[in-house]
């Protein structure tokens, strides 16, 4: 199970993600970010780009933000929407994965950065992992 939704923010975008495993939480966050950037523009396009990534951070919260920042960087550098991820290993301080992307001509929304502002990976009362991510747009 994984899901995402958007909460109100006065000038930026606040994404809430929830999943029943840490891997799914990372995928939910990727889905939520892609939905902002692509707005459906990449749907139906064939995957044409693959990139192995390795992200290291202090804890799961920072790892989640740093992972999204890494994807954002690749998105902007290569005009790709990375909508599929194969996670090879995930610990509280390290993620190794392969991203699969589709080239697009333009983006729907310009995310400047993924912030740590309200990010906090926690287990909620239903036993699921959740966090809020604020995107600077």
């Amino acid at each position: 199970m994984r899901r995402y939704s958007y909460l109100e923010h006065i000038c930026d975008i606040r994404l809430k993600v929830e999943a029943d495993s840490m891997e799914e939480l990372f995928k939910a966050a990727l889905d939520g970010m892609n939905s902002i950037i692509a707005g459906g523009a990449a749907e139906g396009l064939p995957e044409s780009f693959e990139r192995r990534i390795c992200v290291e951070s202090m804890d799961y919260t920072c790892l989640l933000v740093d992972f999204l920042s890494e994807v954002l960087l690749l998105t902007h550098s290569h005009y790709n929407i990375f909508s599929r991820i194969e996670i090879e290993s995930l610990s509280s301080s390290r993620l190794e994965a392969v991203l699969h992307g589709r080239r697009v001509e333009e983006f729907d929304e310009d995310i400047k950065a993924v912030t740590y502002h309200e990010a906090e990976v926690v287990k909620n009362s239903q036993g699921n992992y959740e966090s809020v991510i604020v995107f600077d747009i």
């Binding site: 958007y6 109100e8 923010h9 006065i10 000038c11 930026d12 975008i13 951070s57 202090m58 920072c62 740093d66 920042s69 960087l73 902007h76 550098s77 005009y79 333009e106 983006f107 729907d108 929304e109 310009d110 400047k112 950065a113 993924v114 912030t115 740590y116 502002h117 309200e118 990010a119 604020v134 600077d136 747009i137």
Partner: protein, 481 residues
């Protein structure tokens, strides 16, 4: 939860939360606003964020917000914080992701009657001349070596390359170049994001706006600035694009990993910081300066595009459009201010705030020095913009800083729910304001009702004595990404 009763009125239009409010505050939190504005300011968490800023190591006098304040991340937008040089902290979150996002005002010698029939042609020509929109690259493609030259020399490099004139440099804050910039401190990834973005506007709240001087409030300052009623102007608002965003991302991560080593604890991760004189502080300062230089080069390139479009429509020479001034909104500067009666070097963070140095300051261009630095305050799409002159009282109250715009009061999603973009375009057209834009969604998000009343914001800094009103500009044509 912070309440109005936690604030004390220290002067007309100036409120403070005492540092005893929270045990970790090092200085008071200072808010420039009317009593009525405070009700709205307290609806979001911007004042809580300001209190967090007041905890930073080495912060001096007060953590300050301008009347266009709204919630950001870490620091509130509209924030000003000065930390003691050289051991106080520097915080990328106190500058923002869009390093040196800023605005420049260009003036012509034409009047409304000269251009009225060709305003739409001009808008179309500017729109064609300047790549805009989400993720759009431009025509200026730079090798890494050439990009490094831009990062080191800023707008000055663009003028050397033929994208403007020496007079433009004289009228740019810091002459369009921070000398401590070091391209080697900018990551390869940041450079990759910027390699095709020089001369591009981007999207969001960035724009080029053709306007007319509707009212002059101060003849002496207007004369010094070369402004007159009915004069046609062009306002350019953009920043360092992806390159600057990546510099901020890179260094927030670096600082977050090092704070524990320096014994720094912050109440919000986005306040990640390092002592200015630490290796991380110095590297970020050099990278931030490089990104700031990229932003000045970007606005210089965009102004060149506007000049070309202008010449295509009205003829004449490129020099016919003169730069009145270019100001940074998101930047850190080493400045000297009087603190507790003594001259003190500080690291002034401005995040959504404009430098507003008063008369006589050597940083103000010679031809404006008798009246003070131009402070350019863009309104929202469809509302007026303002030119003010920095006043010396800004040095006493706000580390030589003023507001930077209207400030949002409605979230983007709420704006999209409540505003129909086509109706906005029609309504603006009816009022004689044409819109040339790449996206209807962007129009809804940037609708005038999504912003505070810019005139009220400007009146606060005017009445507080931070900067005085010089001229009001009415938009005629808005070009958005």
């Amino acid at each position: 939860m912070i309440k109005i009763t936690d604030m004390k009125k220290k002067a007309p239009y100036m409120w403070e939360i005492d540092k005893s409010f929270r045990s970790d505050m090092n200085v008071p939190a200072r808010i420039f606003a009317t009593r009525e504005m405070l009700d709205d300011v307290l609806k979001d968490r911007s004042i809580e964020q300001l209190v967090n800023v007041a905890t930073l190591r080495g912060i001096q006098s007060a953590a300050i917000v301008m009347p266009d304040v709204h919630e950001g991340y870490g620091f509130p937008i509209g924030g000003v914080a000065a930390t003691l040089w050289p051991s106080g902290v520097i915080s990328p979150g106190g500058i923002g992701y869009d390093i040196n996002c800023g605005v420049r005002l260009v003036k012509s010698q034409l009047e409304l009657s000269d251009i009225k029939s060709r305003i739409k042609l001009l808008g179309a020509a500017i729109y064609t001349s300047i790549p805009s929109g989400v993720g759009k690259g431009g025509d200026i493609l730079l090798s890494e070596a050439k990009l490094d030259e831009v990062l080191r020399h800023g707008a000055q490099k663009m003028v050397q390359k033929g994208y403007g004139f020496e007079a433009d440099i004289d009228h740019t804050e810091s002459r369009g170049c921070l000398e401590n910039a070091d391209p080697a401190m900018v990551s390869h990834q940041a450079k990759k994001r910027g390699e095709d973005q020089l001369g591009t506007m981007g999207a969001g709240n960035h724009f080029v706006e053709v306007g007319v001087v509707e009212e002059i409030y101060d003849e002496e300052c207007a004369n010094a600035y070369g402004l007159f009623e009915n004069q046609i102007t062009v306002l350019i608002h953009t920043g360092s694009r992806g390159l600057g965003h990546q510099v901020a991302t890179d260094y927030i991560k670096i600082m977050m990993g090092k704070m524990r080593d320096y014994g720094i604890v912050v109440p919000d991760r986005e306040l990640a910081c390092a002592p200015f004189d630490s290796p991380e502080g110095q590297k970020y300062f050099a990278a931030m300066a490089a990104a700031a230089n990229f932003a000045w080069a970007n606005r210089q390139a965009i102004m060149h595009g506007v000049r070309l479009a202008w010449r295509d429509i009205f003829g004449g020479k490129l020099e016919d459009l003169e730069l009145l001034y270019d100001v940074a909104h998101n930047i850190a500067k080493i400045e000297t201010h009087i603190i507790d009666g003594k001259l003190q070097k500080v690291i002034v963070h401005r995040k959504g705030a404009t430098r507003a140095f008063g008369p006589g300051n050597p940083e103000v261009p010679k031809d404006y020095r008798d009246v003070g630095q131009p402070v350019i305050i863009p309104g929202s799409m469809g509302t007026s913009s303002f030119v003010l002159a920095g006043a010396n009282r800004s040095m006493e109250l706000s580390f030589g800083s003023s507001c930077h715009g209207a400030g949002r009061q409605m979230s983007r999603s709420e704006a999209k729910r409540r505003v129909d973009a086509t109706s906005i375009i029609n309504e603006l057209e009816h009022r004689g304001i044409h819109v040339q834009a790449g996206s209807l969604k962007g129009i809804a998000e940037e609708a005038p009702q999504a912003y505070k009343d810019v005139e009220s914001v400007v009146n606060v800094v005017h009445e507080a004595g931070i900067a005085k009103k010089v001229a009001k500009l009415r938009p005629l044509m808005v070009i958005k990404g």
